[in-house]
Each structure stands twice: as structure tokens, then as C-alpha cells.
């Protein structure tokens, strides 16, 4: 043991891994603490979306019995879609921060393992989503007397599934960023929107053509939004939809982590890590 070892805490085991993940989260906390535009951006879009769709809901409720019966279905859909979008963005933006600052070289020669880095990115994504969505949800109570929290436990299941699906998308985007560099930066913003039309966010799955329903069925988000409407419109929690979403998410996340690690290895083979930057 060298003299320096005595000054270091253990470097192996779950406690050390947790400490390193905390260090990465601390890095982002420092970043946000010193940058109010970044904090504002977290809550800005979810709040704006919720306000617009809230007024639309009021208008539609005056014209349609369905919206009177299913109060808040649009607001809930907007907020839950934002969970998915922000979750994906939370992973990829945190990774982009490292690329913008040309810091990846330092990170990847520190004792932080790639799996721990992934875990830190997902943890930051969760924090970003909570900072963005909770204020908008509370504002909806005040503005429209609609509380998404009235969904109760099913809301936790919907939230968790969308969060995990967002992580999967975010990790694949990170892999692409490692491979193609900052030229692929815009993928972080638009990738998740590719699935929006097929996720049955604002309309039921049944309105899609049969062949499209097959595609929509392999998206965990479709089962979440179908489940959400079931709770809000039919007042029924469908466990079959939840099981579908969880199973699909397990597969998505496994593939996403494998893709991220494969792109990481590819970046090490191609000598891309030191080249990544602004």
C-alpha cells in the first residue's frame, strides 16, 4: 500500500461505487447552481405546455361530454409525455455537458466505471425530471383545479416506466454522440419525438390503423398512455398494460446499456475520446 492509498477510501465495492456516482451528481449540481438559465429551462417548457393544454382542456370540456367526464386527460398526457422527453434529454444533456467541456478524458481515466457513469446520468435525469414536472403539476392544481397526483399509485407506475424508457433512449443517444461526436448533437433533441405519433399520447391506440398498432405495441410508452386513459376515463387500473410496459422496458434498458458500452468501446478503439469537444 502506498502512502497515498492510506488517504483514499476503498475503491471497490458498492459503497465506493455510490461515492463515485455521488461525485458525478455533485458535478451537475455545481453546474446548475451556477447557471440560472439551466434551472429555468428545466421547468420552463413543462409549465408552458401544461398551461396551453390546460386551456385547451377547458375549451374542449365546454364542447364535449368526453372531456367533462375525463377531466384532465390532456393535462396528464402532456405532463407524462414530458416525463419521457425530459428523462431522455436528462441523460443525453448531462453527457453533452461533458462533451462540451472536453471533460470525458478526465472522467474515463478516473476510477469511475462506465456503469457508474451511466447510473449517475440516470440519477441526474430523474432529478431534472422532478425539477421540471413537479412545479408544473402543482401549478395545474392552482390553475385548473386538476391534480395529476389524484391518480395515486398508478401514477408512480406510469412515471417509473416513462422515466426508464427515457433513460434507454438517452443512453442510445449518448452512444451515438460518442461515435459521431458533437455533429450528432441535435439527435438528443429530436430522437424521442420519432415515437410520439405512435405512443398514443393524446388519442387511444384504437384510432391507429391495425398495422400501426403493431408498431405502437412494442413501445412501452403506448401501454403507459393506454393505462393512463383507462385510469382517468374508465376508472380502472389495467395490470396487463403495466406488465407489458415493464417487460418492454426491461428489454429496452438492457439493449440501451449494451449499445452504450459498445459505443464506448468503439470510441476507445478509434481514439475518439480525446477528440471529443467543442
Amino acid at each position: 500500500m502506498s502512502a497515498a492509498d492510506a488517504k483514499l477510501a476503498g475503491t471497490k465495492g458498492p459503497a465506493a461505487a455510490w461515492r463515485r456516482m455521488q461525485a458525478m451528481v455533485l458535478r451537475y449540481v455545481y453546474l446548475y447552481r451556477g447557471s440560472w438559465p439551466r434551472i429555468l429551462e428545466l421547468a420552463y417548457w413543462p409549465t408552458l405546455q401544461m398551461i396551453m393544454w390546460g386551456f385547451l382542456t377547458i375549451f374542449l370540456a365546454s364542447k364535449s361530454g368526453f372531456f367533462v367526464q375525463a377531466a384532465g386527460v390532456l393535462i396528464a398526457a402532456v405532463l407524462l409525455w414530458d416525463v419521457l422527453f425530459r428523462s431522455s434529454l436528462g441523460v443525453s444533456l448531462s453527457f453533452l455537458e461533458e462533451m462540451w467541456s472536453r471533460n470525458l478524458g478526465h472522467i474515463f481515466v478516473s476510477p469511475l466505471r462506465p456503469g457508474e457513469f451511466v447510473a449517475a446520468l440516470t440519477l441526474m435525469s430523474l432529478l431534472r425530471v422532478l425539477i421540471g414536472i413537479v412545479p408544473a403539476s402543482l401549478l395545474a392544481i392552482w390553475l385548473y383545479a386538476y391534480s395529476i397526483f389524484d391518480m395515486g399509485l398508478p401514477l408512480v407506475a406510469f412515471f417509473a416506466n416513462l422515466q426508464v424508457m427515457g433513460w434507454s433512449f438517452g443512453l442510445i443517444v449518448c452512444g451515438l454522440l460518442m461515435r459521431y461526436g458533437l455533429g450528432a448533437e441535435s439527435i438528443a433533441w429530436f430522437a424521442i419525438f420519432a415515437i410520439a405519433p405512435f405512443s398514443a399520447i393524446y388519442y387511444p391506440l384504437s384510432v391507429m390503423p391495425d398495422w400501426l398498432q403493431w408498431i405502437a405495441g412494442v413501445l412501452p410508452s403506448t401501454h403507459v398512455f393506454e393505462g393512463m386513459r383507462s385510469v382517468l376515463v374508465e376508472k380502472t387500473f389495467r395490470t396487463d398494460l403495466l406488465i407489458n410496459a415493464v417487460a418492454l422496458n426491461a428489454a429496452y434498458l438492457s439493449v440501451a446499456v449494451a449499445v452504450f458500452l459498445r459505443f464506448f468501446r468503439s470510441a476507445r478503439e478509434r481514439g475518439l475520446i480525446l477528440q471529443i469537444g467543442e
Partner: protein, 273 residues
């Protein structure tokens, strides 16, 4: 230190037949060397010689095409995370986050390396490297010299047994550069640390390094102590030796180069080298 890995106690750094190729470009070609514990060695060579590529492979940022790397007795291709807590590096190719203050940056890395008393170690380094006055300023607002010192502080946070430095005193004025070199010497001697550096500052190499490996086109074309190389090439200083080697001029004793004729493919372009 020797070109070919020798028998005996494990060297702090041991590289054997290390090769890195990108498609048709051979960046590093069957490189072998070892650096004993407590020594300071330098990789010298022109742009594209393969210095940074070699350091990147030792760190694990770049995977070799072939060859073996061992640091502190750890096989870096199989168990690099066993060695990384006892290593560190600084390089002009990598920055610290510009929006974080110097103190915040050091705190993050102190925690990544698992320091027991991060604030105390950061305070020590700030004082020793003359960083105290601007510890709370965003790193992006620091001068180039201040950033270089901050990067060095980050590299020394975990009191590494093996330190890899790419241009460690780049952007420093002569006075600060001299103080940093003195600091590195003291650090090496007090901790018996091993330092491998790549530098274009020949005076720095002459002062710090007991051995120098001259690289061209991804191979070591000559090596020895600075004094040996100067004598061998019949030159007044290491800079002239560097020019002789970079321009493929023969050494004064006309002895064979260690690795044979150097016509081994094009230099790399567009990659850190």
C-alpha cells in the same frame, strides 16, 4: 529503464510490443519500454510521432491494436480499474468543466478518486501550486497558465504513484514553469512516484528526466539519458538532438538505430498524437 522489458521486479510502467493502427495508418509500431518506480521518463518526438497515442493507451483511453501494458503490476487491458486509483494525468487535449470553479472541479475529482479528506488535500494543493487566489473563480475565466496549474492540481489530487503528463508546463511563464518543475521533482522524490511525460520543452526534459525515448513515426528510434543522447549525437543540447532525430540525421557514433530504419508509414492526421 530499458527498451525491451527486462526480468526483475515489476516496473511501474511496462509496455510490450504496443501497436496501434487506424485502417492503413500505423500510429504506434511495436513499442516496448519500461519505466522503473521512482523514475521520470520522457517521450519525445515531433507532432504525430505517437507520444499522446502511447500515453492514451497506457491510460486506457485508447485500446491498442496489439501489445501489452502493465502499470504497477496491473494488466491495463484486463484490470485497469485496479490501477487507475493510483494513477492520474493531465493533458492539453482535455479540459476541466469551465463553468465550475477551480475548487468545485477539484472537489468533484477528489470524490471520484475517493479522498478521505478532500477539502484538506485541495487546500494543500491550492497553496503549493499557487491557486489560492482564484479557487472560487470559474475555471473558464482562468488564464492559460492558471488552467495548466489547475490541471496539474487535479492530476496530483490522489497523490498518484504513476503520473502521466502531456506538456505539463505548456502555457506557463518561465518563473511558474520552473516552480512547477521543482514541485514535480520534489513530489517524485518524496513519494517515489513514477512520471512519464511528453513534452516539447527540451530544457524541461533535460532537467526532470533520467531517461528519454525519442520517437518518430510511432517507434522509438533512440533512447538514453539526456547526457548520453547529447554525447551520442555530438550536440550541445537536447534540442539539437531532437532536430537530428526529427530530420532523420545520423547520430555521431553512426551506430545502428535501435529499431532499424524509420520509414514506417505516414504520420497520422486528424487524431491526437
Amino acid at each position: 529503464m530499458s527498451a525491451a522489458p527486462a526480468e526483475g521486479p515489476p516496473a511501474a510502467i511496462r509496455v510490450s510490443k504496443l501497436t496501434k493502427s487506424y485502417d492503413d495508418v500505423l500510429a504506434v509500431n511495436r513499442l516496448s519500454f519500461s519505466v522503473p518506480a521512482g523514475a521520470t521518463a520522457a517521450l519525445l518526438g515531433g507532432n504525430g510521432a505517437g507520444k499522446t497515442t502511447t500515453i492514451s493507451m497506457i491510460l486506457g483511453l485508447l485500446l491498442p491494436t496489439r501489445g501489452r501494458i502493465s502499470v504497477l503490476g496491473v494488466d491495463m487491458l484486463k484490470r485497469r480499474y485496479d490501477a487507475l486509483p493510483r494513477m492520474n494525468f493531465s493533458s492539453p487535449y482535455v479540459d476541466l468543466p469551465k463553468r465550475l470553479s477551480a475548487r468545485e472541479n477539484l472537489m468533484v475529482y477528489a470524490r471520484l478518486y475517493g479522498l478521505r479528506r478532500p477539502a484538506r488535500r485541495i487546500g494543500e494543493l491550492a497553496e503549493e501550486l499557487d491557486l489560492t487566489a482564484f479557487m472560487n473563480r470559474p475555471s473558464g475565466t482562468l488564464s492559460a497558465g492558471q488552467r495548466t496549474r489547475l490541471a496539474l492540481a487535479k492530476a496530483l489530487l490522489n497523490e498518484p504513484d504513476v503520473l502521466l503528463l502531456d506538456e505539463p508546463t505548456a502555457s506557463l511563464d518561465p518563473d511558474t514553469g520552473d516552480r512547477i518543475r521543482t514541485y514535480l521533482e520534489a513530489y517524485r522524490d518524496s513519494r517515489r512516484a513514477t512520471i512519464l511525460l511528453a513534452s516539447h520543452n527540451m530544457a524541461e526534459v533535460e532537467r526532470l528526466c533520467s531517461r528519454v525515448m525519442m520517437m518518430r513515426a510511432g517507434r522509438i528510434v533512440d533512447e538514453g539519458s539526456p547526457a548520453e543522447l547529447i554525447r551520442r549525437y555530438g550536440r550541445a543540447n537536447l534540442e539539437d538532438v531532437f532536430l537530428d532525430i526529427a530530420r532523420d540525421r545520423r547520430r555521431a557514433d553512426r551506430g545502428p538505430e535501435r529499431t532499424g530504419p524509420e520509414r514506417t508509414g505516414p504520420e497520422r492526421t486528424g487524431r491526437a498524437a
